[in-house]
């Protein structure tokens, strides 16, 4: 009600209406100059030719996109074939991010449900426990995971200690390590929005369904899930999008064979061997994919 009251009386004394422009100007200026313009410039860069020592030559060229999608042989004179190398990296990123999202959902939903059904006085404390790791530096969390999973790390030592394995498992530098890293990095992002949705859920609906002889899991599937869907979708997006462009997990936990989009982009801007137009083109493809996901979500939300 408070929000309604605030907007209803805007015509009266407290109206900030005439000041809207100057009040919003700072955010428009900062985001406009330091984010929108850079992204536009990056789009332009992706259509320029590369210079040898990193940087660009101001000359229109679609070479970067050509390199991304087509393979013209070592000297560029063979008939173009589709280039799978970069598409494979994108494909790996998509399934790694998708799998991380599913795993986070599988653990995050029960956790969110469990917390939302605690005594209201204790819920804040449970949520506090989930948010503390979220506030800890992601770099430090990833380094900790690397320390834990090393060949001679505590995880392998513990498994050998209880006699489950004889020699250390090689986890680090594999796709599995990257997956564990992504899952671990973004797990809190899944719990929080689902918790918010479950907390608003009307449990009388479950009760009614149970009275009509639905089993508990049927209730969960047919009644609860549709009601809390916006929270689940929000959680999935919050995990999927940062996983897709992740840099730290593949870089610190993976190896040369676990390349993801983030590492590919990063590499194009390192030192003089880089290729700025190509890096910009890859970033443009990533940005397009992310915006497509966000637009799809916005439209799905409106349609409901």
């Amino acid at each position: 009600m408070a929000g309604g009251a605030a907007t209803d009386s805007t015509s009266s004394g407290t109206s900030w209406r005439r000041l809207v422009l100057p009040l919003l100007l700072p955010s428009w200026l900062v985001v406009g100059i330091f984010l929108l313009m850079p992204v536009a410039l990056m789009a332009i860069y992706s259509f320029l030719a590369k210079d040898f020592r990193g940087g660009v030559i101001w000359q229109f060229s679609i070479e970067a996109y050509d390199q991304f999608f087509l393979d013209r042989g070592l000297f560029g004179d063979e008939p173009p074939r589709p280039n799978w190398a970069y598409i494979a990296i994108f494909w790996r990123s998509i399934w790694q991010a998708g799998l991380a999202t599913l795993l986070c959902l599988a653990i995050g939903f029960p956790t969110a449900w469990f917390i939302a059904t605690r005594n209201p006085r204790h819920r804040a404390l449970w949520i506090f426990l989930i948010t503390v790791p979220y506030w800890v530096n992601l770099l430090i969390r990833t380094v900790s995971m690397r320390f834990l999973l090393r060949d001679q790390g505590p995880f392998n030592e513990a498994l050998m200690g209880i006699g489950l394995i004889d020699s250390p498992l090689r986890i680090i530098n594999t796709d599995l390590a990257v997956q564990i890293g992504l899952f671990y990095s973004y797990l809190p992002f899944m719990v929080l929005p689902i918790y918010a949705a479950v907390e608003r859920y009307n449990f009388a609906l479950s009760e009614a369904a149970r009275d009509l002889y639905a089993g508990p899991w049927t209730v969960l599937r047919e009644v609860v899930l549709p009601s809390v869907r916006p929270g689940i979708v929000a959680g999935c997006i919050l995990v999927f999008i940062p996983s897709l462009g992740a840099f730290l997990a593949p870089d610190l936990l993976g190896g040369a064979r676990t390349y993801m989009i983030g590492s590919l982009i990063d590499e194009q801007f390192r030192g003089s061997a880089g290729n700025w137009p190509f890096g910009s083109a890859v970033a443009m493809v990533l940005l397009t994919m992310v915006l497509a996901v966000l637009l799809w979500q916005a439209r799905a939300r409106k349609a409901r």
Partner: protein, 270 residues
């Protein structure tokens, strides 16, 4: 009868999965915190309890690097979160109190844009921008980038708080001949304070945390704590890195606790 009385809130296995979730979240951090007190030079074998690596962080051969990096990180986080909070307060007042106006949705998108664009893309775009306009990368460029991506993090708690404050307080102040500025400074701003502080704390931590964007726009020879740690970790995890990590972990825990307490006080005061 029995089925009617079973708790509709309980599902078998959910508490186990919650325990698993918390274990996954905390075990790596606890392990590093424990090993940071290891007396051994090797990071594998346990050599007894010691604080030597904490002493090493402050006085060891790498301590000047860490000290400079810590100073850069903290001063940038302080300046960036303060600037972002001022911008966010002004934006929140317009968005929540401005009624319906043209470009409201576009403004909302602009404020939240740094949340929607992947970090690596922001990093690349910002580097290209600074290079093209000929700004030398360093402290200044890091600060500008941080102010930009901190805005939505400061904005969210502030606007959430403002939405919960009815405008009757301001109206009363205005009826008693307070100017708009007085009504804002003496009535609205104090009411918004829990949200403002939460927003500032969140922005501060987000700035302190950032690695990817900073790494792109920092330029040569300039380090913040995350980039210094990253550089060091690339050559292998050393015990002093675990000590620094544990210290930063403690700082984060203090911040989140503060923000939690301030929010609770704010809710009680309402």
């Amino acid at each position: 009868m029995a089925s009617a009385r079973t708790d509709i809130r309980r599902y078998a296995g959910f508490s186990t999965l919650t325990a698993l979730c918390l274990t996954v979240l905390y075990v790596p951090l606890i392990v590093v915190a424990v090993y940071s007190f290891n007396d051994s030079r090797s990071i594998t074998a346990w050599g007894g309890f010691s604080v030597r690596w904490y002493v090493d962080v402050f006085t060891g051969p790498e301590s000047p690097v860490f000290r400079a990096a810590a100073w850069n990180s903290i001063s940038i986080a302080f300046l960036a979160s303060t600037a972002a909070t001022v911008i966010a307060v002004s934006a929140a007042v317009a968005m929540v109190r401005g009624g319906r106006f043209r470009g409201r949705q576009a403004s909302f998108a602009v404020i939240n844009l740094p949340l929607m664009v992947p970090e690596i893309v922001i990093a690349v775009a910002t580097l290209i921008f600074f290079t093209t306009i000929g700004l030398r990368t360093g402290y200044g460029t890091i600060l500008i980038a941080h102010v930009t991506f901190c805005i939505p993090f400061a904005y969210l708690p502030i606007s959430a708080r403002l939405q919960g404050i009815e405008d009757t307080y301001e109206l009363a102040a205005r009826d008693l001949y307070a100017t708009r500025w007085q009504a804002f400074r003496l009535v609205l701003l104090p009411l918004m304070m829990p949200g403002v502080i939460s927003g500032w704390l969140l922005a501060f931590i987000i700035s302190l945390d950032d690695f990817i964007i900073t790494n792109f726009v920092k330029g040569a020879g300039m380090e913040t704590l995350p980039t210094a740690i990253f550089g060091s970790v690339k050559q292998g995890i050393k015990p002093n890195i675990m000590a620094i990590s544990t210290l930063m972990l403690a700082v984060s825990a203090v911040f989140v606790t503060l923000s939690y307490l301030i929010n609770r006080i704010g809710q009680k005061a309402r």
